[in-house]
Assembly symmetry: C2
Homo-oligomer: 325 residues x 2
C-alpha cells in the first residue's frame, strides 16, 4: 500500500542516492551549504476537521507549514519525510488524495519525498519534516537591530478571515462575493509558502531577522523582539489587509485588525532590514509579483513591543484575543 501511494514520489533526481524503501534515505546537499531541518505535526481534531477541508488540501497544508519554516531561515527546501498515522475509517482513496496534495506542492518547489513512516492510529496524524539548505549563515529570529524597519510580504488576515468564514453559518458567508470567499478560504486551506520571496530577499542581502507568520503577526513580532533583544513600534494603518479581508471581517462582525494580528497561518514572511535597503528589496520582489509592505520600526528593548492605533499607542502582546484556537 505504501508503495502504491508513493510511486509518484519515487521519481528522484541525482541528489537522492536512496529514497523511500530502505532503512533510511541518503541524499547529497551542496558542499558549501548548511543543512536546515523543520518538523510540523498535524493531528485531526487538534489542527483540522475533516468536514472543513478536502484530503488534497490537508496534504498541501501539512507540507506548506514546514516548507515555510525553511523559507523563513532564508533557505531552499529540498527533501521531505512524511510520517502519517491513518485510522481505520480512512480508505485508500482518501490517503491517495492526501499524498496527491502533498506531492503537488512538493513539485512546485522541487522538494523530493525521501522517506517517513506509515502507522495505524486512532485519528489522522501527519508529521512532516522538511530538509533544506542555505548558503552561509541562516537568517534567524535574532538579527533585528534598533533602527531597522520591519516589513511583511503579501497580505495579512486573509487566512484568519477564511477560517472564520468556514466556521460561520453558510447564510452569512453567502453575502460575500463568491470570488472573495473562495480566495480567503483558499488562503486558509492552501497557504502558499513564500520560498521565492525568501530567496529574493536573501539574495538582496542586508536582512536582519526573518520569521514566517504561522501563529499570527502579534506572536511572531514578539518572537523576533525577544530573540533579538529589541522592541518594536508597529503602525496598524500600514498593515496590508486587503479589501476582501476587510469586507469579510465586517460581515463576520470581527475586527480586521484582530484578523491581521492574531489570525495566524498567513504563512507570509516578516522581515527586518536597514531602512536604506527597503526600496531595493521591495522592487526586487515586485518584479516577481510579490508585495512587500513596511509596517513598523525596530526600537531598543526598553521601549517595549508597541502598536500605534488610531486612538493611541498600546502594548502588543502575543495572546489577549482569540477567535482562532
Amino acid at each position: 500500500m505504501i508503495k502504491l501511494l508513493t510511486e509518484k514520489m519515487r521519481e528522484y533526481n541525482d541528489s537522492v542516492l536512496v529514497g523511500i524503501g530502505d532503512d533510511a534515505a541518503a541524499v547529497t546537499i551542496n558542499k558549501d551549504s548548511n543543512l536546515l531541518a523543520a518538523s510540523d505535526m498535524f493531528v485531526e481534531g487538534s489542527h483540522f476537521l475533516l468536514s472543513k477541508l478536502s484530503p488534497r488540501q490537508l496534504g498541501h497544508k501539512a507540507l506548506a507549514a514546514s516548507i515555510s519554516d525553511i523559507a523563513a531561515m532564508g533557505g531552499i527546501p529540498r527533501f521531505a519525510l512524511i510520517s502519517a498515522g491513518w485510522p481505520p475509517y480512512i480508505d485508500l482513496d482518501f490517503t491517495q488524495e492526501v499524498y496527491r496534495g502533498l506531492q503537488a506542492l512538493a513539485a512546485c518547489f522541487e522538494v523530493q519525498v525521501i522517506g517517513g513512516d506509515t502507522v495505524k492510529s486512532p485519528q489522522i496524524i501527519l508529521d512532516i519534516t522538511v530538509l533544506g539548505e542555505v548558503k552561509g549563515a541562516p537568517v534567524t529570529r535574532g538579527g533585528a537591530r534598533p533602527g531597522d524597519l520591519i516589513a511583511v510580504t503579501g497580505r495579512l488576515g486573509a487566512s484568519g478571515a477564511g477560517f472564520n468564514l468556514l466556521k460561520s453559518p453558510a447564510a452569512n458567508s453567502l453575502l460575500i462575493p463568491p470570488g472573495a470567499r473562495e480566495s480567503l478560504i483558499k488562503a486558509h486551506l492552501e497557504p502558499y509558502p513564500q520560498v521565492e520571496a525568501a530567496a529574493v530577499l536573501r539574495k538582496g542581502g542586508g536582512l536582519g531577522a526573518m520569521i514566517d507568520i504561522s501563529d499570527g503577526l502579534a506572536s511572531e513580532i514578539n518572537h523576533i523582539c525577544k530573540a533579538s533583544g529589541t522592541g518594536v513600534l508597529i503602525y496598524a494603518d500600514k498593515l496590508p489587509v486587503d479589501r476582501e479581508t476587510r469586507g469579510a471581517a465586517r460581515l463576520l462582525k470581527l475586527s480586521w485588525l484582530d484578523l491581521a494580528l492574531y489570525g495566524g497561518e498567513d504563512y507570509e514572511l516578516l522581515v527586518t532590514m536597514a531602512k536604506a535597503d527597503f526600496t531595493r528589496a521591495k522592487e526586487a520582489l515586485m518584479h516577481k509579483g510579490i508585495k512587500l509592505t513596511e509596517i513598523g520600526e525596530i526600537l531598543p528593548a526598553t521601549e517595549g513591543v508597541l502598536i500605534q492605533k488610531e486612538d493611541g499607542v498600546f502594548p502588543l502582546t502575543a495572546g489577549g484575543f482569540n477567535h482562532f484556537r
Copy 2:
C-alpha cells in the same frame, strides 16, 4: 513549557548553528559525507501501552528505532527532531521523563536534538526523525550477492521473549530467574541500536547488504532478498538464541525459533558479506564485545527464501506466525 523540557538538549557543539527555538534548525555536516534521514512514529495504543513501560523507556525506545535505521545504512547518527503529541491526561513530570529517556540515549551516541514540534493530541504520539551521515555510498538492502554469507549481530528473540513476558500473567514469569526476566524485558523496552557494530563493519569494508531487525528476522531477510534480487538459505540451528530466551520460550509455551524469526524489535544488524571477509569482521567486532554469527548463505533468486530446520528445508515467509501484533 517546551523550553523547560528541552533545556538540557540545548547544549550544542559547533556543528549546530541554530538549534531548538527558531523556524528551523541549521547544522553543518562533513563536506565529504552524504546525509541520511529516517523517521519512526509511535502512537499510544498502536505501538505501546503506558501500563507496560516507563516514560523514560518510552523516550529511549522511540529514539532507538530511528538511530538503528541510520546504523543500518552504515551511517553515524548526528541530529534528531522530536515531534510529540501530548494528551491532557499526561502531566509535565511524565513528559520530562520521556525527554530524559530520549536525551540519555541521544547522549550515548552524541546525537543532538535540534528541533521538532509539540502539539496537543488525544493520545501520546512521538515521531522522531534522525539525521546522520555516511562517507561515500550507504549500505542498502540491495547489495547482497549469491555466494555471500549472511550474519547477524548480538542475539535474536530476546525482545520477543521480553514482550511476551510483559503480556503474560505475573505468576508465569516468576518462574524465570529474575536476572533473565529483567534482561529480556530490557531487550524489549530499551533496545540498544548497533551503531558501533555498524561502524566497525563498515570500516572493515566488503559489506553487501545491511538492514536492522525491527520487524523480525524473517521479514528483514525477505526485504534483503527482494531488494537484492536473490534467494537465501538460513540454518535454524545457527541462529543466536541464547539460554535466557530459550528458557523464557519454554515457560511461555512458545517456540524459540518463532521468537527469533518473527519476534521483531531486536534492533540487531543483519548483514551480508563475502565469505572471505567474515573472520576478520567477526574478530573486529569481538574486540568491541559484539558477537557476529553466520546464519546462512545468499542464493540465486530462483532458489527462493528458505530455512533449514531439523525436519527439512521450508520456505521462509515474512508473515505466517503472530504473537506479536
